[in-house]
């Protein structure tokens, strides 16, 4: 079975998957993403997007809701395999 990997900002509304990694070029931001709770294996689902330019994005992370913008969401890699 092939894995479907995408960046969190590329998910459509109500698409869900599991975090499978982080982009490596922005360590400081990755620490912040981790501290607020993003970790490998966590369930994420895009709940909604802002009116202008589809940003910010509200994301369900397990049972928590997190708001972030497109560049930050782009650092989170998501596995969409059900």
């Amino acid at each position: 079975m092939s894995t479907k990997r995408r960046k969190l900002n590329e998910l459509k509304r109500h698409e869900a998957g599991r975090v499978c990694g982080f982009a490596s070029h922005n360590d400081a931001m990755v620490i912040k993403l981790r501290e607020i709770g993003f970790a490998e294996g966590d369930e994420v689902e895009v709940l909604g997007r802002g009116l202008i330019g589809g940003t910010p994005i509200s994301v369900r992370l397990n049972q928590t809701v997190i708001a972030l913008r497109i560049p930050e969401a782009g650092l989170v890699e998501v596995d969409l395999t059900p």
Binding site: E35, L47, G48, G50, S58, Q63
Partner: protein, 613 residues
């Protein structure tokens, strides 16, 4: 006597720390600042069942030890004993929201890695149970190696589990005070997270999806189209409420001070009667009358904060704010600034990027603070008829316009600043949107009282001093032309030519000077100035009736435009000086605000003159 033990409450934002704090200490909090920084340090006291005296410290919320904002750094420094002159706390009360156990557990491991004596308060257990989550407390305790206390901060019974065990825990903590060290890198964080997830998997016996109420409400409140409409309606309702609900209590207060004024007029000798009636009662009364409006405004802001909606408002505003060069997070300091710019400027410390923070501070005074309400209300009551336009109160519409002018100019100024003096990268947005909650009555009442108390204390000190000083300056030396011959009149006559082009008369200019102390003082000052120079008949009328005779409509509108911008508040200026730690920035802010005020008032006056002929 044994020394007082110190307990520090630490944990992610929105984990119920403040509710817990209010419950344990009975709401008697002392608020001070940490030395050198303006991060609030809330402390309170309680006694354990074994009669130990305990000081409880409520720290700003943190997600981990890597915090970068001023707020987060202070919280981390406080628990690791890196604040000068302050020993590290004897025990950490680590707060964790049981409904977000899986997501936040790693932060408990991070805090525990400091090696300080700690207890985990697993808060909001009732909400977790209602959602159908089951947690094995004993297994969690074993896995973490620290006591875990299920709790429900909102109820007294929910705090009892901690109270029952607190003495045993303290005995233990005092015997084994740990060292303290911080080290955190992305890799360590990753391993802590996988450890935390493994614990979560073993202790969460049953778990459901996310809170369904929050999901449903977010579908509405964060809807791309509906969301902004609802936000605008809430803000509109808030300002309408400030105007229509406050009428009756305001009339009562007005009547009360009118009665006091009449009584004071009977007193002899004349100078004492004048000081009491025209100075103190007219001055203080014209400010206290706005208490009901300020109460309503604060009540709305508190409810929006405690229900969890405020974060949604920040979400909805983020893109607009980003285009203005600000951050969605700046919405919260800016909304607080509607109550008062001082806490608003302080709230900007949650903004990480120095440029973003500076820009937010520079525009915060443009938000219409509650001290402007007295000024606006007075002038609007005198010049704008209380009629309805369709379903809207016409006075409410004018106030809405004034608020809107403040907001729009803040966005424009921020945009210009970000393109010029605070040029640079914008801060990313990353924030948790808390679950919706019913606000706790006790927290609400306490929060409201604390804010009201600040207002009353100000009326009793700053405003009282200002009106007495003004009474003296405006009463002496006595001359043929009344107030014109007094000291205040002399100062006023020097300044009058400057303000003449924008339609301000001498009395207004005189009142503007003490109005530098705080915006609402200008109302008190006008109460005093007009009371002193008016005849008996005019004094019998309210200040707004006096203004109707003394001012023209263009002058009144010009005065309103002036107050949208004028930085007339020493507290704000002092706070900007402290938070920016720069005299240049402070002068820059004062300068640009006065310039805007003068230009806006000038244009308003000239346009209004052209229309009214």
């Amino acid at each position: 006597m044994a020394r007082e033990l110190r307990l520090a409450m630490i944990g992610a934002p929105n984990t119920g720390k403040t509710t817990f704090f209010n419950g344990l200490t009975g709401g008697r909090a002392k608020t001070a600042n940490y030395p050198g920084v303006t991060v609030e340090r809330r402390t309170g006291h309680f006694r354990t069942p074994h009669d130990r005296a305990v000081e409880l410290i409520d720290l700003p919320g943190i997600y981990g030890l890597a915090g970068r904002t001023l707020d987060e750094r202070v919280a981390v420094d406080a628990i690791t004993g890196r604040i000068e002159g302050e020993a590290p706390p004897d025990l950490l009360l680590i707060f964790l929201d049981a409904t977000h156990l899986r997501t936040h557990l790693h932060s408990v491991l991070e805090l525990k890695s400091l090696g300080r004596p700690a207890v985990l308060v697993l808060n909001m257990m009732d909400l977790a149970e209602r959602d159908g989550t089951k947690i094995d407390i004993e297994a969690l305790e074993k896995a973490l190696g620290i006591p875990v206390i299920p709790s429900n901060a909102a109820r007294k019974s929910g705090r009892e589990a901690l109270i029952r065990r607190i003495d045993d825990i303290l005995d233990d903590a005092l015997q084994n005070p740990g060292p303290g060290h911080i080290h955190i890198s992305a890799r360590e964080l990753k391993s802590l997270q996988s450890e935390a997830r493994a614990i979560a998997n073993s202790v969460i016996l049953h778990e459901t999806g996310m809170n369904t109420l929050t999901r449903r409400l977010d579908n509405i409140f964060l809807h791309p189209l509906l969301g902004p409409i609802i936000l605008a309606s809430i803000l509109f309702l808030m300002f309408q409420a400030v105007y229509s609900w406050a009428n009756i209590p305001m009339d009562l207060i007005d009547g009360f001070f009118g009665f006091l004024h009449d009584q004071a007029k009977q007193i002899r000798p004349d100078w004492l009667s004048s000081l009491l009636a025209d100075g103190i009662i007219a001055g203080i009364g014209s400010v206290l009358i706005f208490l009901p409006q300020i109460l309503i405004l604060f009540a709305f802001i508190l409810l929006l904060e405690s229900s969890g909606y405020m974060g949604r408002a920040a979400f909805l505003m983020d893109e607009l704010m980003r285009r203005a060069g600000l951050n969605g997070r700046a919405f919260i300091p800016l909304l607080s600034s509607f109550a008062c710019a001082v806490p608003g400027i302080m709230a900007a410390r949650t903004i990480e990027s120095e440029r973003d923070r500076l820009t937010t501070i520079m525009v915060a005074p443009l938000m219409t603070c509650s001290a402007r309400l007295p000024v606006y209300t007075l002038v609007i009551a005198a010049f704008i008829p209380r009629e309805k336009v369709w379903i809207f109160n016409q006075q409410g519409l004018v106030i809405f316009t004034l608020y809107l002018s403040g907001i729009l100019s803040a966005l424009i100024v921020a945009f210009i600043l970000r393109k010029t003096v605070t040029k640079g990268e914008t801060q990313p947005l990353l924030m948790e949107l808390p679950s919706y909650k019913l606000p706790q009555l006790w927290d609400f009442v306490l929060g409201l009282w604390q804010r009201i108390w600040i207002f009353l204390r100000r009326a009793g000190t700053v405003i009282f001093t200002a009106v007495v000083a003004l009474w003296v300056l405006a009463s002496f030396p006595r001359g043929e032309n009344g107030i014109r011959d007094s000291f205040a009149g002399m100062v006023g006559r020097v300044l009058e030519p400057i303000f003449h082009p924008i339609g301000f008369n001498l009395e207004t200019v005189i009142a503007l000077v003490p109005g530098m102390a705080a915006r609402e003082v200008v109302v008190a000052a006008m109460g005093t100035v007009y009371a002193l120079q008016g005849n008996e008949e005019e004094i019998a009328g309210s200040l707004s009736q006096i203004l109707q005779n003394a001012w023209t409509l263009p002058s009144a509108l010009s005065f309103l435009a002036w107050y949208v911008f004028a930085p007339q508040c020493f507290a704000t200026i002092a706070m900007v000086r402290r938070e920016t730690n720069s005299l240049n920035w402070t002068l820059f802010m004062v300068g640009y605000l006065f310039a805007l005020a003068y230009i806006a008032a000038f244009i308003t006056y000239r346009v209004a003159l052209a229309f009214t002929g």
